[in-house]
């Protein structure tokens, strides 16, 4: 088993792959820019008009921008893996790192760590930048649930990236994964989530976003919700591993 773990050279190689593709590096930067930027713009536009103008839950309202940032996280996660299915790129990669488990774990670890670091910075910057425009309705760091939301939002973004990365390894196409996931988080989950109470709360994005709420209703608390999302992401990553191990390259 130890012989299948990532090594410094394989992690370094994956990092070079990610930073040398415009799409993946851009997706990573867009996580921060989209989440914090849209948060700040929205807060500046309507945040001070009246209490609750950005939603009933002031903590969740502080992360309005994450709806957009999560798409960037998916683009990053899917893109990092999809690069291998571009032409015969995977063959070159596997010729250099023939152990498929090591190859895949190195990639997933690199995607996860980069998304987590970016997510944590995003979580903090989004909170601070967004609240700066809220005037007297602003939350302060230290108010109930705020630290949880700052850390949780970073984890949420990282898990989204991993979910997309794992699915891309299964389906072998970033385009297919994004054309499934983006409508899902923007429409399906939203519509279904409004309509049905029970099962919908277990959908990955619904469950994961509980960590951003001041108060949660339903069966899941904020951290168990994030845990449910982590299970989804883990299932996708596991599926990707099985696919990468089994298939001919």
């Amino acid at each position: 088993m130890r012989s299948a773990l990532p090594t410094v050279p394989t992690l370094h190689s994956e990092w070079i792959k990610i930073r040398s593709l415009r799409g993946t590096l851009g997706g990573l930067i867009a996580v921060l820019v989209a989440t914090a930027g849209i948060q700040a713009l929205t807060a500046a536009a309507i945040g001070r008009s009246e209490d609750g103008s950005m939603g009933d839950d002031p903590l969740f309202a502080a992360y309005y921008g994450i709806s957009f940032g999560q798409i960037a996280a998916m683009v990053f996660g899917a893109g990092a893996v999809a690069g291998e299915f571009h032409n015969g790129a995977l063959r070159t990669s596997l010729a250099a790192v023939p152990n498929r488990t090591r190859f895949y774990l190195s990639k997933i670890a690199t995607v996860g760590v980069l998304a987590l670091l970016t997510g944590q910075v995003t979580g903090l910057v989004t909170f601070v930048a967004g609240q700066a425009f809220m005037g007297r309705y602003a939350l302060d760091l230290g108010d109930p649930g705020t630290y949880r939301a700052v850390v949780g939002s970073g984890l949420y973004l990282a898990l989204m990236a991993l979910l997309a990365a794992g699915l891309t390894a299964v389906l072998r196409s970033g385009t297919v994964v994004l054309s499934l996931l983006i409508p899902f988080v923007l429409l399906v989950s939203f519509v279904v989530g409004e309509a049905a109470g029970g099962a919908a709360q277990y959908l990955p994005d619904r469950a994961g976003q509980l960590v951003l709420h001041a108060r949660t209703q339903g069966d899941l608390g904020p951290w168990t919700g994030l845990g449910v999302m982590a299970l989804w992401a883990a299932a996708a990553v596991l599926g990707g591993w099985l696919a990468v191990r089994r298939r001919d390259a």
Binding site: P9, S13, T92, L94, A96
Partner: protein, 303 residues
């Protein structure tokens, strides 16, 4: 340590056997030409050797070990599989950099192989802007990166200009002379005969020949004569009695397969048929190769 051993190797895609019970060795110190028409199974054999595809049965090893078990694959084997095996969005240099990183190869070596492959000036351009010939050169640069003892080159001359073809021919000869194992595939005999010392010929996934280039020439290219005569009609019937066939060639000449000038000359003299010109000839290597693979060609061009 640098030899390649293929044993009873079979790969089926569905019901179709792309590689069918192949057994052969590739030895160091010489260029081995890997010949066969399109679809013969050359690329599949190379992918199986690199552990990219799983064999249905049989083994493909390097010095007795599976490629998957090599601790330092890039230092042992350099492969050019397909000019398209690179992401178009990366620059040539970044493509080589991530490979170098994976193999713990110093970055200096990246610049060396870029120089050696003649693409240093376009190293910072994205691969999607490359011509096929430039991509081939990048693939060769990648294969040379780890200074490997074994080189697997799948149709490396595809898309190369004449200057590039000469370059790669000399490169392969030099690598073999240094004691490395060089396996180079092609579907053209004309190209292979100019550089290979040894030949492995595939047809429909099966081994058709495993022989030195010299032996192949001796054994395969049949004898024939070329002649001019003022009485082809009588010569034809005289030859037919001995089981030979007179065939028309260009410029009013005739050829007869499987006979030598001495034998035909005597026959014509006995019959009193005037022969104006007579010479021994060898069927071309290309023809010998085509004959060998004719029954096995999957994609025969319709003329």
């Amino acid at each position: 340590m640098n030899s390649i051993e293929i044993r009873e190797l079979t790969k089926a895609y569905g019901a179709h056997r792309a590689v069918d019970g192949l057994t052969f060795d590739v030895l160091p110190g010489r260029v081995t030409g890997f010949l066969g028409p399109n679809g013969a199974g050359k690329s599949t054999t190379m992918r199986l050797l690199l552990g990219l595809d799983r064999p249905t049965s049989g083994t493909a090893t390097l010095g007795g070990r599976s490629y998957l078990d090599l601790p330092d694959p890039l230092h042992r084997v350099g492969a050019l599989l397909d000019a398209q095996s690179a992401h178009g969005g990366r620059t040539a240099r970044d493509h080589l950099r991530f490979l170098a990183a994976a193999g713990s190869i110093p970055v200096r070596r990246v610049d060396e192989v870029l120089e050696q492959a003649g693409i240093a000036s376009v190293a910072k351009r994205r691969i999607k802007s490359f011509s096929l010939g430039m991509r081939q050169r990048l693939g060769i640069a990648a294969a040379l990166l780890g200074d490997p003892g074994v080189l697997l080159l799948d149709e490396p001359t595809n898309g190369l200009d004449p200057e590039g073809i000469i370059w790669i021919r000399e490169l392969m000869r030099r690598l073999a002379a240094e004691g490395r194992t060089v396996l180079v595939s092609s579907h053209l005999m004309s190209e292979t005969s100019a550089l290979a010392d040894h030949l492995i010929v595939l047809g429909n996934g099966r081994l058709l020949a495993d022989t030195s280039m010299a032996d192949f020439i001796d054994a395969r290219s049949t004898r024939r004569v070329r002649l001019r005569t003022s009485d082809p009609g009588r010569l034809r019937s005289a030859l037919a009695r001995d089981g030979f066939e007179l065939a028309a060639a260009e410029e009013g000449r005739w050829t007869v397969e499987g006979i030598q000038a001495e034998q035909l000359g005597k026959l014509a003299a006995r019959e009193g048929i005037p022969v104006l010109e007579l010479a021994d000839e060898r069927a071309s290597l290309e023809q010998a190769y085509l004959d060998l693979t004719a029954d096995h060609a999957q994609f025969t061009a319709t003329r």
